[in-house]
């Protein structure tokens, strides 16, 4: 790929793929922006007309908007903290030579293969159900009143469910990173008089910083759009207690049949995602250099 000729040939060769991908992204985005500027309600077909930023104003004035915004950030932040901290601890644990290591590793990774709807339903009906759930059984066994997770602490419960799904991902990435740590470095630190805790703090953690960055970035992208878990467990409720931005957009466009309002919400979600992305890249993106 050195000469002028081969470079221009390369550009021509990859252009069909680039054009296809660009169209794939641009067309839905432009349509969403376009819809968001229309009054477009499925119950009143044929009455679409341009209303400017009215949809945005209505979406913003919706009392559920700020709740949804906060819930989105709490959900993303909560799951990130749990999965990163838990992932590091699990990865260190799995890195130890233990009997049956292969099976243990597969078991740990298993939750990632369960579909979000399925895992949320399992959690809802088999664990968190206040009448027949396992947690209720435990509570009753020790003489406590069963706790109704999904109505008493809906957002925390969803954070728990989503964390359970994403913990394997974080563990997997962090485990591979830990395994690439040079053992001589650890031995050098041991010779230098570092305790196990200092070795973790000064050697392992800095070594993991890049992997942690990758985990945070990738998970954030997916966690901003958590939807299925909310739909099958709490339906965003009680009230708006577990409604995030994605769910709010869904409620607007498919429960209220307001495509225009939903599109406006979608555009707001895109903007929020970009703001989060910029913050993340500023804060931790430098770990990816060098």
């Amino acid at each position: 790929m050195a000469t002028q000729h081969s470079r221009s040939a390369a550009r021509i060769m990859i252009s069909p793929a680039v054009v296809l991908l660009l169209a794939w992204m641009i067309v839905p985005l432009v349509l969403t922006v376009y819809f968001s500027l229309l009054r477009y309600n499925l119950l009143m077909p044929g009455t679409e007309r341009f209303v400017g930023f009215l949809n945005y104003k209505l979406f913003y004035q919706n009392p559920a908007f700020w709740t949804a915004m906060l819930n989105t950030l709490l959900l993303v932040g909560g799951v990130l903290i749990i999965t990163v901290v838990g992932g590091i601890l699990l990865a260190i644990l799995l890195d130890q030579p233990i009997w049956g290591q292969g099976i243990v590793r597969i078991l740990v990774i298993a939750p990632f293969f369960v579909m979000p709807t399925v895992s949320a339903l399992v959690w809802k009906n088999m664990f968190m159900n206040p009448v027949s759930g396992l947690f209720a059984e435990f509570s009753k066994a020790v003489g406590l009143a069963p706790f109704d997770f999904l109505s008493q602490a809906p957002l925390a419960s969803i954070i728990g469910i989503v964390s359970w799904q994403w913990l394997p991902f974080a563990t997997l990435i962090l485990l591979t990173a830990i395994q690439s740590l040079d053992s001589e470095q650890m031995e050098a630190a041991e010779m230098d008089g570092a305790s196990a805790l200092s070795r973790f703090w000064y050697i392992t953690l800095p070594h993991l910083s890049r992997a942690i960055t990758v985990v945070i970035l990738i998970q954030t992208i997916f966690l901003l759009s958590v939807f299925a878990e909310i739909l099958v467990t709490t339906n965003g409720g009680p009230g708006n207690a577990s409604t995030n931005l994605t769910y709010l957009v869904y409620a607007r466009s498919l429960l209220n049949f307001d495509v225009g309002g939903g599109s406006a919400g979608g555009v707001v979600a895109i903007i929020l995602a970009n703001i989060v992305a910029i913050f993340l890249m500023r804060m931790i993106g430098k770990n990816l250099d060098a």
Partner: protein, 334 residues
């Protein structure tokens, strides 16, 4: 102070005994080199001394105090690793400061020692760089700096020069030797390169399969190898070891003659042969001589520039008083 005593130390990995019972005393201030072919247990022995591996039996004493069960950090030894094992996310300064920070040393004392070490090792301009921005030789010096600041009872080097190119290796070899003269601290150095062993050591320990074959000063080993293994291992090019009828003439099972102890002549000598490969280095010339009537190819070293080439016929005469005689077990015959 750094007198290290190994008393019947053994090491087993599972059922495999890599170090059979081994006794060794390393005197304070000595530069000891463990040398041997790869897999001979020299690195394992060093790691046993460092405390990075547990001994399976026997006792290690440092300055007379039992150290067998002490963790590495408590033994007062510093180690320089083959891969340098620098902490990549820390600056050179922080790398060097790390052991002192772990020991909770006051900041100003830390700074003083870092500055001293940096000056001694020519690292002053690089203190704020990361290891990734340094050359191999500089990284090596940082690793040594990190060892020096602890003022250890002894330094342990695990093949520290094997990742450097040939020219740098010679330079670092001298720097380490000078450092030893300056600090006068015990140093234990592991290498598979007998040239490093010969040039640096006060005392060489030749190892094979976990056994000590011979301990002695470089010239002792050169002059009086205890067996054929040491004879073949020490010295470059290797000593010519000759079996058979020629050895019988000297009433030995095997005789050894170093390449530099064979005289070359174009007209007369004990063995007549034909030159195979001739290596002209300018300062030395090495000939590999075939067809001498002996089973072995004879290597000889002729000083300086010699006008003999591939295919020439030469006569070789071993210097009589420099012939080493070995018995059927490969041990030196008196």
């Amino acid at each position: 102070m750094g007198r290290i005593t190994l008393d019947k130390v053994t090491k087993k990995f599972g059922d495999v005994e890599v170090i059979p019972p081994l006794d060794l005393t390393i005197e304070d201030g000595e530069f000891v080199v463990f040398v041997g072919p790869s897999g001979c247990g020299k690195s394992t022995l060093l790691r046993l001394i460092a405390g990075l591996e547990d001994v399976s039996g026997g006792e290690i004493r440092i300055d007379g105090k039992p150290a067998t069960d002490l963790p590495p950090a408590k033994r007062g030894l510093a180690m320089v690793f083959q891969s340098y094992a620098l902490y990549p996310h820390m600056s050179v300064r922080k790398n060097i400061a790390f052991p002192m920070k772990m020991a909770g040393m006051p900041e100003d004392e830390q700074k003083r020692r870092i500055d001293n070490a940096a000056r001694a090792l020519n690292l002053t301009d690089y203190l704020d760089r990361r290891p990734g921005q340094l050359s191999g030789g500089q990284r090596q010096r940082v690793a040594i700096g990190r060892a020096i600041v602890r003022e250890p009872a002894a330094f342990l080097f695990d093949e520290p020069l094997s990742n450097l190119d040939a020219a740098l290796r010679v330079g670092m070899r001298m720097e380490i030797s000078e450092l030893h003269k300056k600090l006068d601290t015990t140093m234990i150095y592991v290498t598979h390169d007998q040239v490093e062993a010969m040039t640096m050591a006060d005392k060489i320990v030749v190892l094979r399969a976990g056994n000590i074959e011979q301990v002695g000063s470089p010239l002792e080993l050169y002059r009086n190898p205890r067996n054929t293994f040491v004879a073949g291992f020490i010295g470059s090019p290797k000593m010519n070891l000759i079996d058979g009828a020629e050895a019988k003439k000297h009433s030995a099972e095997t005789i050894g003659v170093r390449p530099e102890h064979i005289d070359v002549s174009a007209s007369e000598g004990t063995w007549k042969g034909r030159i195979g490969v001739a290596e002209h280095l300018g300062s030395d010339t090495f000939f590999h001589v075939h067809d001498t009537g002996l089973a072995e190819t004879i290597t000889i070293r002729a000083g300086g520039e010699v006008g003999l080439h591939h295919g020439d016929t030469v006569f070789l005469t071993p210097q009589h008083d420099k012939i080493h005689r070995f018995d059927s077990k490969g041990l030196r015959a008196a």
